[in-house]
């Protein structure tokens, strides 16, 4: 009864429910002869050393904590998570398999999947949250060694150490110098450790500094502190996760020997609209990438920055590397970070790991020698292991060198708890419901609770590199799985072919959150042919060309097959210049909130943009809340001038010359078209004569996202390997090539109620061209003379003429990234 599994990496886990007196039944059997403990687990070693699992089934009878019962992030009893590399995950139940393939019943897919176990990174079993889940007064302590602990601060001994009561480990005197960060779990205060001591922001952006009695708000500007070496120079590198507002601007310094070096080696990250751009001080671009939907969390953008000794890695939220930046040289600078808190609206920086997470943290490769049914233990090269303690198997990837020898007590191990706690140290021994480890941050061995322990890994040297992915992903509430879209059935069911499965399977569309498509070519609609941009109340948006704007309905030419007629009630806005619109929208909000900038003729300096909030429906609603004295008047329209001035009016007439309006401030007047930015039809509760119309939206919200701005609500009607067929209630039948799709959101955000919107109709910018400029002579223009003509294409490929700016002061900047 010996089977050898050279490549079987066994991670030893404890079953917390056992220790708490709950019943755990594990089916265990080894292929011929089978050994049964309770019920069988079948393990079989194949020739050549590869491990194949014939069947594997675990029943854990125990209650799932209510906090997780509703969530999809925890498996139910009996279920497992299959993890592959690159963060893929599937939840379900393993069942018997043939020909070395695992049969897996996913909770999402209706068909069983047949999976090659060698494609897996690990199988994780259900774990149960141990201890209390009351986080009030508790902190998460992130140590510089990468460990994460949780507990309460009991006493503060000056600036040097704290007495903390750690969950599952008892009291500990924690040296502040060991801390990388402290995260107050309940109050969501993030605190950082740096050469300047501890400090941080709370979520409202208040700067807090550490003090003897806790965290004390201070008025000092954290920027000046962060500007100093943020503890990251030399080998002190960290992985950080940045969550920043939509308008972000922060700088990362390569810390050098002198300030000169710092200036030269500064990297600036900016968010320009929907693009994240990183460039050096010399405007040398490092990368510019569209911000994928996955990086957005609410109004925030999540960017992960990882480091190892040589490079900085910029990753999006799904772990895909956006860019890599190498450190200049071996003896050169490290990386520092400065945050311009004024424009950043930083909500958190999480120091995830002070070691490189790209460096190896691989699992025990322990040869299982046998199974003793009577004693309930696996016999392994490292000794006996209780079967009940096994909760998962990790499969080494081929990139990891197979360890030459078995791990011994004394090896460096890392305990990983399901709640995110991590403890690294020298492994000593197992005990009943606990194990003993000598943490790296303390000389003495400590007894750690095994409650909610998820894995014990052995830290080994070597290189582990994730493979780059270039695939489509199906994202459900239970995980995500790479593969390809095969078809969409009439009932909306989706057939998906996972890359790790030999067979394809059907999944209900209700189970799918989105399909992230690996786009090879970009979706591009010419600004020239479709100069306008239509936003519908359903959330759809796409480029178009306005044919007719009628009083009831309007007609548009679309890139999706001809002209469509759309009821005005469905229209949120017609945009003629999206960049200008955003600017005006912001001005608009601020001016209304001022409450004292009404009327034409106010050409004074426009309010500076100090609030970097996006222009969302809520702020629009706020903006439309008029000062009381104007509330008696019933104006149907709001006219925005290009200067940012605005006026509530009733628009009476409309011609090529401009708009005729009447308002309480003046008699009938004409506003010339060239001064107009927009006319807003107000959907304002105070305007009783304007009736809100419920938009006729489809009940489901399947969205095709073609690019960052183009979004279509559809009913899926079919798919093949090339494209998607769908029916849009607005545009009719569509076919979109997969290569043009960014993602398919199957249960995306529901459309906002129509009452949240105003109708926005924008007038295109038109400017007179009084004197045609002459072509340049090739000589540098002389001050005092007429500027030469500049006619060409802009960055969008549209015609662009310098003369269009006549009437304004122009700064013409010959620039480049070079």
């Amino acid at each position: 009864m010996v089977f050898v599994s050279t490549y079987l990496a066994l991670s030893l886990l404890s079953a917390p429910c056992l220790q708490e007196g709950k019943v755990v039944q594990i089916k265990a059997a080894v292929a011929a002869p089978a050994v049964v403990i309770g019920r069988p687990v079948v393990l079989r070693a194949a020739a050549g050393g590869a491990v194949l699992i014939d069947s594997f089934e675990v029943d854990v009878e125990g209650s799932v904590p209510s906090t997780f019962a509703a969530g999809s992030d925890q498996p139910s009893p009996g279920q497992v998570f299959l993890h592959t590399g690159e963060g893929q995950r599937l939840r379900g139940v393993l069942s018997a398999a043939t020909d070395g393939q695992l049969a897996f019943d996913s909770v999402d897919f209706t068909d069983p999947l047949s999976i090659d176990p060698m494609a897996l990174e690990s199988i994780r079993f259900a774990t149960e949250e141990g201890g209390d889940t009351d986080y009030s007064g508790k902190y998460s302590f992130l140590l510089k060694g990468g460990d994460a602990l949780r507990g309460r601060i009991q006493e503060v001994h000056g600036q040097d150490s704290w007495l903390v009561d750690l969950d599952g480990m008892g009291p500990l005197s924690l040296s502040v110098s060991e801390l990388a960060a402290v995260d107050a779990l309940a109050s969501e205060v993030m605190v950082y450790s740096g050469p300047f001591g501890l400090g941080g922001w709370d979520q409202r952006g208040t700067w807090l500094a550490s003090g003897p009695s806790g965290f004390i708000p201070e008025t000092s500007d954290p920027r000046s502190l962060l500007k100093r070496d943020f503890g990251l120079n030399g080998q002190r590198l960290v992985d950080i996760e940045l969550q920043v507002g939509r308008e972000a601007h922060f700088r990362m310094y390569l810390l050098g020997q002198s300030m000169k070096r710092v200036d030269k080696d500064c990297i600036t990250l900016e968010i320009w609209g929907d693009t994240l751009v990183a460039y050096t001080e010399g405007k040398k671009r490092i990368f510019a990438t569209p911000i994928p939907g996955a990086m957005r969390e609410g109004g925030l953008i999540v960017l992960k920055i990882k480091t190892d000794a040589d490079s900085l890695y910029f990753l999006d939220d799904e772990g895909v590397t956006l860019a890599t930046l190498s450190r200049p040289d071996e003896s050169g600078p490290g990386f520092g970070l400065e945050c311009d808190a004024g424009s950043l609206k930083l909500s958190s920086i999480r120091v995830l790991n002070t070691e490189s997470s790209l460096s190896p943290v691989r699992l025990i490769a322990q040869d299982v020698l046998g199974l003793d049914a009577e004693a309930g233990v696996y016999q392994t090269t490292a000794g006996e292991v209780p079967v009940a303690a096994v909760l998962g198997f990790d499969f080494p990837t081929s990139e990891v060198a197979t360890p030459e020898s078995e791990p011994d007590p004394g090896d460096q191990v890392r305990l990983i708890y399901s709640d995110g706690r991590r403890v690294t140290g020298e492994f000593v021994s197992y005990g009943e419901g606990e194990l003993t480890i000598r943490p790296t941050w303390q000389g003495e061995a400590r007894v750690c609770s095994t409650s909610s322990l998820e894995a014990i890994t052995v830290v080994r040297s070597g290189t582990f590199q994730r493979k780059k992915t270039s695939r489509s992903f199906l994202v459900t509430g239970n995980g995500e799985i790479a593969g390809s879209l095969e078809s969409v059935g009439e009932d909306g069911a989706i057939t998906w072919k996972p890359t790790i499965s030999a067979s394809s399977a059907t999944i209900s569309r209700d189970s799918v959150r989105r399909i992230v498509v690996n786009r090879t070519t970009s979706f591009f609609v010419s600004n020239k042919n479709y100069p306008h941009f239509l936003r519908l109340r359903s959330g759809d948006s796409f480029r178009c060309k306005v044919v007719v704007i009628g009083s009831e309905e309007s007609r548009f030419a679309t890139p999706f097959g001809g002209e469509v007629t759309i009821s005005n009630d469905l229209i949120k806005a017609i945009e003629f210049d999206t960049r200008k619109m955003a600017e005006f929208a912001e001005l608009f909000v601020e001016k209304v909130e001022d409450g004292n900038n009404f009327g034409w003729g106010n050409t004074g300096e426009a309010p500076r943009r100090e609030v970097s909030e996006g222009f969302d429906a809520a702020s629009l609603e706020r903006a439309l809340a008029l000062p009381r004295k104007y509330k008696q008047r019933r104006f149907k329209h709001l006219v925005l001038a290009r200067t940012g001035d605005f006026l509530r009016t009733n628009v009476i007439g409309w011609s090529e010359e401009g708009i005729l309006y009447s308002s309480g401030l003046s008699d009938e007047r004409l506003i010339p078209t060239r001064r107009l930015a927009a006319v807003v039809w107000l959907d304002d509760p105070i305007l009783e004569d304007v009736e809100l119309v419920e938009a006729d939206l489809p009940s489901s919200h399947t969205r095709l996202i073609l690019d960052e701005q183009t979004c279509l609500t559809v009913e899926l009607s079919g798919a093949d390997n090339e494209g998607i067929e769908a029916v849009s209630p607005i545009l009719g039948e569509l076919r979109v090539d997969l290569e043009h799709l960014l993602s398919i959101e199957l249960s995306g955000a529901a459309a906002l109620p129509p009452s949240m919107y105003s109708k926005w109709v924008f007038i295109p910018k038109e400017e007179p061209f009084p004197d045609a400029a002459q072509a340049g002579t090739g000589q540098l223009p002389v001050v005092g003379e007429r500027a030469p003509a500049a006619i060409g294409k802009d960055l969008h490929g549209d015609d662009f003429n310098l003369a269009s700016a006549t009437g304004s002061v122009v700064l013409l900047d010959f620039w480049g990234f070079w």
Partner: protein, 108 residues
């Protein structure tokens, strides 16, 4: 770009336009910068294709970056002004532009 951005923000809402002539070469750095430009470079830019593109050549520009300050009537008022000198000149020209605009509006 931060300089341009702050300039654009400072005169936001005024009769001021920051217009770029992008001289990146198509290909290497250019294509990506242009892609970035599709999104939200703080100024509306010509795509001139290289540092010897048609506009750059016609204007006789051979040092980069070069900036021309042009008034509301299209007259060159300054070349490569920086710092307070630039700000003062822009403010002065804005006054003229505002006055001209008021005049035009009154004529309507």
């Amino acid at each position: 770009m931060p300089g341009e951005r702050s300039l654009a923000e400072r005169y936001e809402g005024r009769l001021f336009e920051l217009i770029g002539v992008n001289t990146d070469t198509e290909g290497a750095a250019g294509s990506l910068s242009i892609r970035a430009g599709e999104m939200d470079i703080p100024m509306h830019s010509f795509l001139d294709g290289s540092t010897s593109g048609p506009i750059t050549t016609a204007w006789g520009v051979n040092a980069f970056p070069t900036q021309f300050l042009i008034d509301h009537e299209g007259i060159v008022r300054g070349i490569d002004l920086v710092g307070p000198a630039l700000d003062e000149e822009i403010e002065r020209l804005l006054l003229l532009a505002d006055a001209a605009k008021a005049e035009r509006d009154a004529a309507k």
